[in-house]
């Protein structure tokens, strides 16, 4: 059993009797392992900018109550965006509390910075951040319930045990329910030490638990931001400028005269139309005739292609990592492999477009809607209104996806702006076209790789230059193969553009992993080595003779590789026709998890068809089998879908794709089979909202190469000349 150390427990628990009786625990502890939070802030959320919860050293809160009937209410403080946190968090609390899952009610908590901290959905960081805190939340309550029972029975607490909602005293064959004990337990002092369960005693963790909102989802209950309506609420849509344009004039009088239109406003180069129904506002928006002023900042995709070429040649790049002496290594190389990889901008396209409700009153504001960072929305609203943050409330709705888009608060602030100006409750709704053309895209990047091989096919030199548009740093320089190559140089250079960008599911690595893992395949090919063995050799080298710092766990990475080899029948798999199946390998460490994938491609009528992906994920302990499997599968579908089809292009600053009619999304008839395996190693769990996405593209592209001899280096794949030649 694990016992908590005293150091992490100072003043971390406040107990109060809940109104109407029952145990009411407000947990407020500042953890000793703040390093985890720092890590999250600097790596995974680097593009999220001012995500309030990611400030280093900020702890986490949780909250649970037990009523006299033994019903456990577990508040879920973090935003639910489809990552399954509203199910996973309570599972952990319930496990340590030792209660029947059937008696647990999960409630979405509003933003409450006094009770909770890091109410953020981002960076796959919620689980690693909260794992121990949630366990302690359950275990501490359980301990207090046992002490209350021991007091009643007048026996030592050490003789008491629990079993799904009851405290038991086996020697005297007595038991009391948690509900009966809750009020007394709440009066007791908070225990100094609580024991956490041994992993082998887990009953709920590791099982398949269904999404706690299934019942509401399948019957159409109002769960999402767009479903929120308020008496007297007005509807608003905005026409925002394309990138590099300013507002000159528009047909204001005509729009104001349209049916149902209440007001037309302008702010920040936007035209906001406010009206009595979504449709009337939408029609008025279509009738807008706006004169925009074009500035020098407008760019086209052709410009970006030229800019990438210039950035790759520039001597102004920032060095991100340097080991050994690359110049000497490349001079002495027996073989040099060079390749460039490129990806376009991508919109997030959550199925629920951006929207937010705001009601601004003189003394405060009420906000309701889908946000991955409620605290950011609150703080920005308070700043805009000149109110103190505690005068602004934020209610969290379930989100119809986010993929990083809702880490920004811009759309919530629009609602605040409009509500303030029209002095009424307002919901701002983005149309799909607004959502797709409204910016905050995954940045476009081009990478250039160079590898130097010696006569034996060992990689003795490695160079990576990242050239990006509005990505900041486009490399993750400590990723594998860094540490395994003696002479390594990684640098990056960024072009500032009017086209806005932001975090997009697995920021940077969503494309970098494809490029790196494809390039390693190219190098293995040039070295005449099996791609898996090539990677394993590099990992052995990183282990025995590391070059510089190694910032990934070599053994864990090898473990997922080896398991993927075994589960996929790497190199030996044959199809139904007896011919070998073309397999492609990829492995990536991101967001603290390790994921290896093997893509399988078969030729049908001379065309490559991706038929399967075998995935092995090491996310430590799997909290919820059902949710976790879907996260891995969904990430692979997402990764392949966007790699294949996703493309956002620009002409003079204007996005050329605007809805699903001209922007292609993967559909059901296009998915390969996906087989998911988890490594069972007992490490503390890490999040799964992102890590299975980055390796997906390369697993497929490497398999396509195996099947066709064509190397796909550009996304979207369907526009790649090499792939087009065999389609």
């Amino acid at each position: 059993m694990q016992t908590l150390s005293n150091a992490s427990r100072r003043n971390f628990l406040k107990v109060a009797a809940a109104a109407g009786g029952g145990l009411f625990l407000g947990f407020n502890w500042f953890e000793a392992n703040a390093a985890t939070a720092v890590d999250a802030a600097t790596t995974d959320l680097s593009l999220a900018g001012n995500v309030p919860g990611a400030v280093p050293g900020v702890g986490f809160n949780s909250y649970l109550s037990i009523n006299p009937q033994g019903i456990i209410t577990i508040m879920s403080p973090n935003p639910e965006v489809g990552q399954g946190i509203k199910t996973a968090f309570p599972i952990v609390v319930a496990e340590e509390l030792d209660v029947d899952w059937k008696n647990v009610i999960v409630e979405q908590a509003p933003l409450d910075t006094k009770k909770f901290e890091r109410q953020v959905a981002g960076g796959s960081g919620s689980i690693p951040h909260s794992w121990t805190r949630l366990r302690k939340a359950g275990a501490t309550a359980r301990q207090m319930l046992m002490e209350a029972a021991a007091k009643r029975w007048n026996v030592p607490v050490t003789e008491c045990t629990t079993g799904t909602g009851f405290v038991r005293h086996t020697a005297s064959n007595r038991q009391l329910s948690y509900g009966e004990l809750a009020t007394e337990a709440a009066q007791l002092p908070v225990p100094a030490d609580v024991k956490l369960k041994d992993r082998k005693d887990f009953k709920l963790i590791g099982q398949s638990v269904k999404n706690v909102d299934n019942a509401g989802i399948i019957t159409g209950k109002p769960l999402f931001g767009l479903d929120f309506y308020r008496e007297g609420m007005l509807f608003a849509m905005l026409q925002r400028p394309a990138f590099g344009y300013t507002l000159k004039s528009f047909n204001e009088a005509a729009i104001k005269a349209m049916p149902g239109i209440v007001d037309v406003l302008t702010f920040d180069n936007n035209v906001a139309i406010v009206g009595k129904s979504t449709w009337q506002v939408r029609k008025a928006k279509e009738a807008l005739k706006i004169d925009w002023t074009k500035t020098d900042a407008t760019e086209s995709t052709d410009d970006h292609n030229r800019i990438f070429g210039e950035l790759l040649k520039s001597d102004k790049a920032t060095v991100r990592r340097k080991d050994g002496d690359v110049d000497t290594a490349f001079k002495g190389a027996a073989k040099v492999v060079t390749a460039e990889y490129q990806c376009p901008f991508l919109p997030h396209n959550p199925m629920e477009p951006m929207n937010f409700f705001a009601h601004v009153r003189p003394d405060g504001a009420e906000l309701v809607g889908p946000t991955q960072t409620p605290e950011l929305a609150r703080n920005e609203a308070a700043k805009l209104l000149g109110l103190s943050p505690d005068k602004v409330t934020v209610q969290l709705t379930r989100m119809g996806g986010g993929f990083g888009r809702r880490l920004k608060a811009d759309y919530a602030i629009e609602a605040v702006q409009v509500s303030k100006r029209v002095n009424a409750p307002v919901k701002v709704i983005w149309t799909r076209e607004d959502d797709m053309t409204g910016g905050s895209y995954r940045p476009a990047v081009r990478y250039r790789f160079e590898a130097a091989l010696d006569a034996q096919g060992n990689m003795i030199g490695y160079k990576l230059r990242g050239a990006s548009i509005n990505a900041g740093s486009s490399t993750r320089e400590d990723n594998f193969p860094a540490g395994a190559v003696d002479n390594l140089l990684i640098d990056s250079i960024d072009h500032k553009s009017a086209i806005t960008t932001g975090p997009w599911r697995a920021p940077i690595t969503n494309f970098l992993a494809f490029a790196e893992q494809s390039f390693l395949d190219e190098v293995a090919q040039a070295a005449g080595k099996d791609p898996v063995q090539f990677r394993l050799d590099l990992l052995d080298k990183a282990k025995t003779k590391p070059a510089g710092a190694v910032k990934y766990d070599i053994d864990r990475m090898k473990a997922v590789i080896n398991m993927a080899v075994e589960k996929s029948g790497w190199g030996t798999k044959k199809g139904a026709d007896g011919r070998p199946v073309s397999q492609g390998f990829s492995v990536y460490f991101s967001h603290r998890s390790y994921v290896a994938q093997v893509g399988e491609v078969v030729m049908q009528k001379d065309k490559p068809v991706v038929q399967k992906v075998v995935a092995v994920a090491d996310c430590g302990i799997v909290i919820n089998q059902s949710g976790s499997r879907q996260q891995v599968t969904g990430c692979i579908v997402d990764g392949i879908g966007h790699a294949m089809y996703g493309n956002m292009t620009f002409k003079d600053g204007i996005p050329e794709q605007s809805n699903f009619s001209n922007y292609r999304m993967i559909r059901l008839n296009e998915i390969p089979d996906v087989e998911v395996h988890f490594v069972d190693n007992g490490f503390d769990p890490t999040g799964l909202g992102e890590p299975s996405l980055p390796p997906a593209g390369a697993a497929v592209a490497n398999a396509i190469f195996k099947a066709t001899g064509k190397r796909v280096r550009n996304q979207p794949f369907i526009e790649d000349a090499a792939l087009k030649s065999v389609l």
Partner: protein
């Protein structure tokens, strides 16, 4: 504006709206039936799927003035308590991730299974490919449709006397 009388989920609803208002926004803004979702507004994603006289129909492009006496079923009326075989299968397979697309997926699947009670996988793939799921729950959607097809098919078998 004009007054429309609509037959929805076995009840009569009245709405005073512009004639070209799509059913989707009448349901959502006027009638409080928000289970039907907006995803694209141009019949590309299926999030707004309802049944119009039993046919899967995209409510985002269906002007209210064209509906007349047609019977509309929304996700709220598919069953009284979430016990339609498709809904049950959706829960059993644990399909929803974010859940936003799922009402449309369920309505598409329910209409499809009514016409094709014993579909092949290829038929399921074709029938369900008009609905986008950004979260990528497609594998489970396919599995749930299969599960529901077995459930509905066996019910049908029990209720007929042949064989």
């Amino acid at each position: 504006m004009a007054l429309y009388s609509l037959q929805i989920n076995g009840q009569t609803y009245r709405a005073d709206v512009d004639p070209d208002t799509p059913l989707l926004w009448v349901l959502r803004d006027n009638l409080g039936l928000v289970g039907t979702k907006y995803g694209c507004g141009i019949a590309q994603c299926g999030a707004c799927t309802v049944h119009l006289n039993g046919e899967a129909t995209r409510a985002c492009v269906l002007p209210v003035s064209t509906i007349g006496k047609a019977k509309i079923t929304t996700i709220e009326g598919l069953s009284a308590t979430g016990t339609h075989p498709v809904q049950k299968a959706w829960d059993a397979v644990d399909v929803p991730q974010c859940g936003y697309c799922q009402a449309g997926q369920i309505m598409t699947a329910a209409a499809f299974l009514k016409k094709t009670p014993k579909p092949t996988t290829a038929q399921i793939d074709e029938a369900m490919s008009g609905n986008i799921c950004r979260c990528g729950t497609y594998h489970r959607i396919r599995e749930a449709v299969k599960m529901a097809s077995n459930a509905t098919a066996s019910t049908a078998k029990g209720s007929t006397k042949t064989k």
